[in-house]
C-alpha cells in the first residue's frame, strides 16, 4: 500500500491512479451535508472558510460519541453522492481530495479532471476499524451541528482506494 502524506500536493494527485490502494497520513477535515451547505453559503457571501481549502482532503463522516479515554468513536465513511451538489464548487476553490463511499455524479468526476482532484473510497461500514487510525480529533467549526460539525482529524496509515483520479479513471464497476 503506497503511503500518502496530507495535505495533498499537485504532484501526488497527478501520480494517483484509480484502483490503487493507498494509506493516508496527516490531516483530514470532516464535513457532511449540513456543513457543506454552510461552506457553500460562506463562499457565495465572499467570506473566509474555517480551514484552508487548498490541498485539503475532506472526509464525509459523522462519528459516534467518543468513548472516555478514546480519540474518536466509530468513524467510517458516509455516502458521498449526497455531497455531489457541493463538491464541484469546493474543488474550484482549491479542495484537493474527498473521502467517502459510493459513486459520484458525472459533474463531480468532471470537476476532478478540470481542477486536478481525487476521490478516495473508504471501506464502508468499517467504523470501528477506522477509529484505530485516528490520532487526534478536534472541532474547528459549526460546533452547533453536533456530529455534523467540521472536525480536524490527524490520521496515520488510513487505508483507502483511489476511486476517481484526476485523469478520468474510475475504480467503480459499472453493472451492465
Amino acid at each position: 500500500m503506497t503511503p500518502i502524506s496530507l495535505p495533498l500536493t499537485p504532484e501526488t494527485i497527478e501520480d494517483l491512479r484509480a484502483g490503487e490502494a493507498v494509506a493516508l497520513s496527516g490531516e483530514l477535515y470532516v464535513a457532511r451535508d449540513a456543513a457543506h451547505a454552510r461552506l457553500i453559503a460562506l463562499l457565495e457571501a465572499g467570506q473566509p472558510l474555517p480551514f484552508e481549502l487548498r490541498g485539503a482532503v475532506v472526509y464525509y463522516m459523522g462519528p459516534t460519541p467518543t468513548p472516555p479515554g478514546a480519540v474518536i468513536g466509530a468513524c467510517g465513511p458516509t455516502t458521498a453522492s449526497r455531497m455531489d451538489p457541493f463538491a464541484p464548487t469546493l474543488l474550484a476553490h482549491g479542495l484537493a481530495g474527498m473521502i467517502g463511499k459510493g459513486q459520484r455524479s458525472a459533474a463531480v468526476t468532471e470537476a476532478l479532471v478540470r481542477h486536478r482532484g481525487v476521490y478516495f473510497y473508504a471501506y464502508g461500514g468499517c467504523g470501528a476499524f477506522y477509529a484505530s487510525c485516528v490520532t487526534s480529533n478536534r472541532v474547528v467549526a459549526f460546533e452547533d451541528l453536533g456530529p455534523e460539525a467540521i472536525y480536524r482529524l490527524v490520521v496515520r496509515d488510513f487505508p483507502v482506494i483511489v476511486a476517481n483520479d484526476c485523469h478520468g479513471g474510475s475504480a467503480f464497476y459499472e453493472p451492465a
Binding site: A21, G73, A74, K101, Q103, G125, P147, Y173
Partner: protein, 282 residues
Amino acid sequence: MTRELDAGLLFEPLRDALLRINVELPEDVVRALTAAADRETGPAAREVLSTIVRNIGIAREKRLPLCQDTGMAWVWLRLGDDVRLTGEPAREVIHRAVEAAYAEGLFRKSVVADPLFPRVNTKTNLPPVLHVEFVPGDRVTVAVMTKGFGSENKSGLRMLLPTATPDDVLNAVIDIVRTAKGAPCPPTVIGVGLGGTMDAAALLSKKALVRELDDTHPRPEYAALERELLTRLNALGIGAGGLGGVTTCLGVKIASMPTHIAGLPVAVTVNCWADRKAVIEL
C-alpha cells in the same frame, strides 16, 4: 386461558439486544462475510471484504459500534391472542429500551423529529419505527433491527401488473439493486416483500430480513426464486464496495401475502453487510 405478562419484562432483553447488535453481528452473517472474503477474486473487493472481517474483530474486542451509522431502531412486536400485557404500556417500555441502549452504548443519535418541519435531532434516537401484529398463541416475540440509511436510501418499490411473471419480479428487484451500485455498502442482504397493498409489501420486505441469513424459504417455489435472484444479483458484478467482485449480495429473503386481482406490489429493502438484527421471545 389468557396468560398475563408484565410488559416491563421487555425492557432488559430489548436494551441488551440493541447494545449487542450494533457491536456484534449474528454468527451466520459473520460466516457469510468470511466466506465471501475467502472466495473473492476482485482485488479491490478483496481488500474491502478483508477490512470488513477485521472491522468485525476490532468492534467486538474494543466494544465499539461496527459502523458509525448505528441506525434507526425498527421494532416488530408480535403479540399472541392469548396473552395480555400488564403494567407499563409496551410502547413506553420499548421507547425506554431504545433510549437506554443508544445512550449507554455511545451510539450515534441519528433521528430527526420530523422529515421537514423541523428537521432537528431528537438526541435520544427516539422514536423507533414500531409495528404490532396479532398472532395465534400466548407468546410475545420482538424482532429488532438497527437500520442504517446508506442502504435504506437505496430501498424501493414497484407496482407491477397482475400478469407479471416471476421473471418480471426478479427483474424489478435486480433493477433496484443495479441502480444502488456501491452506495448501500455491498455485499448487501435483500428483503423482498410481495403482495398486499403498497405499505404491506414494504413492511414484508423488512420482516423478511428478520429471517436467519442461511435459512431456506418453507415454500419450494419461493426458495427457488430466492436462489435464482441471489445468483443473478451476484452476476451483476458490483461487488463489495461497488468496486467489482463476485459477491454483491449475501442473501435474498422473500415474504409474501395475498394481494388484489389488479396488482402485484414488489418492495425491496436493501440492507448493508452490517445486517444487525435480533429476535427476543417472552
